[in-house]
Every structure is written in C-alpha cells, then in structure tokens.
Amino acid sequence: MIESYIPIFLILAVAVVFGVVSANMSWLLGPQRPNRAKNSTYESGMEPVRTAHDRFSVKYYMVAVLFILFDIEVVFMYPWAVQYRNLGLYGFVEMVVFIGILLVGFVYVIKKGALQWD
C-alpha cells in the first residue's frame, strides 16, 4: 500500500537534493570576493531607507483570509469529484447548495469592495 507512494517520495527526494546541491555548489564553485558595494541590499540600486520589518496593510490579510476560505471550499470539492458518479444528481445538488451559500459570501465581499486596493 505505502509502496505505491515511492514515486512521490522519489520526486520529493530529488527536489530536496537538487535544491541543496545547486544552492551549495554555487557557493563552493563561485569566487568569493565580497566588498561593501556588493553586499549592499540592492547592488547598483537604490539605498535602503529603513528596515524591511515594517507593519503591513491589513489589505494583505484580507486577501489571505479570503484565499483560505475559498481554498477550503475547493478541498471539499476533491472527495466530491472522486465520488461524483456514485453520488449522481443528489451529490450534484448538494454541491450546488454548498457553492451557492459561498457565492452569497463572494457577492458580499465584492459588493463591500473588500478586495479593492484603494
């Protein structure tokens, strides 16, 4: 049973090894002659004015929360899609009701302009 996941673990292992190796190889092979200008935050760019740890606007949070809510909606669609043929019309109506309720929320969010970047 678990042996059927070997390809997935293989891909994961390849991804990790590729990332670690390529990141360290450039460090190993590349010449390292740092100087002040090279180590600045934006080399040949503007001077940074203050630290990057700044307070972010709540708008980002808004987008993230709405992303999670619709993400969970899609998660529920996954077992539904797998069992779609077995459930038939009944399952279809259930999902329409589910999406319909969330559509009310979506319309509310749009109407309130919560996603507008003003």
Binding site: M1, H53, F56, L66, V75, L102, Y108, V109
Partner: protein
C-alpha cells in the same frame, strides 16, 4: 524493519526536530517557516497511516493557506523588538508550559488507554477509512448536514473578516 517503519521514524524525527526549531527560534519568521516543515512531516505521517485525504488537506490548507495567514499576522503585528517579549514575565509565560504538559498527559493517557500501551500495529480497517473515495461517500451521504453547515461557517468567517478589516464602507 519494513519500509513503512523506516519512513515513520524518518518523518517523526523531521517532525520533532522542526517542532523544536519552531519554539526555539528568536525570529518569528524563521519559526513560521519551520512550522511549514513540521506540517509537511505530519502530512507524511498521515500517509503512512493511510489517511490520504487528511494528508492532502494538511499540505493544501495548512502548509499552503494557513501559513500564508500566519506570516501575514506576524507582519501585521510588526514585532520589531522581540527581545522585550522574552524579558517580560507574565502569567502567559507560565500558563503555556503548564497547558502543554496537561495536553501531553492527556494524549499519553489516551494513547495508553486505546492501544494498551503498544504502538506496533494500526487497525486493518484504517486502510479503507482514510481513502478519498470513502470520505467522499460518507461526507455526501451520511454527513450531508455537517457538510452544508461548513459552508455557513465559511460564510460567517468571510463576513466577519470583511467587517473586522474594513473600517469604512463605501
């Protein structure tokens, strides 16, 4: 040792190490990133327990979406001087460890009670229960009402988030 056992120990080690790193990092951003490693390790453990749907959800919702929110919350709170938080000793710094120990005791008690203290096998029934097909079948027949209620819960969260985040309505 079977392949499954080796996999479990590797994932458990990854989970414990990343969890320790989460609670020892001074930088909250680093802690949050190690939490993602912890979530992925947990997803792997769910897979060894034949709970495919929970594993997928763990990666998709927790490691993906919830962590985005956690990172934004850290940015919103703007913890510029984290050091101050460590120096202040309030009831919070004592209640955390006490509650964690109580939870650990409860978990140990439950595991010992259910499995009789042995961890060497999982129920053969579990191979069937955790599949996506079985969860879909159960969710859309026996548990229709909780499923539809979940959409109302999401709707309430949506409205609540909009009301909390928007100060003025146009």
């Amino acid at each position: 040792m079977t392949f499954e056992t080796i996999l479990f120990y590797v994932l458990a080690l990854a989970g414990i190490v990343s969890a320790l790193l989460v609670i020892t990092r001074r930088n909250p951003m680093h802690a949050a990133l190690f939490l993602i490693v912890n979530f992925v390790a947990l997803a792997g453990i769910y897979l060894t327990l034949h709970a495919q749907f929970v594993a997928i959800t763990q990666v998709l919702v927790y490691a993906g979406a919830i962590m985005v929110l956690v990172l934004f919350v850290i940015m919103l709170l703007n913890l510029q001087n984290e050091q101050d938080l460590f120096e202040k000793r309030s009831w919070r710094s004592y209640s955390g460890p006490i509650l964690s120990l109580l939870l650990l005791a409860l978990l140990l008690r439950t595991v010992a009670f259910v499995s009789g203290g042995s961890f060497d096998r999982i129920s053969p029934e579990s191979e069937r229960i955790g599949t996506v097909a079985n969860i879909g079948q159960q969710l859309f027949t026996a548990f229709v009402f909780p499923f539809e209620m979940a959409s109302l819960l999401l709707l309430a969260a949506m409205v609540g988030a909009v009301i909390l985040a928007k100060k003025r309505f146009p």
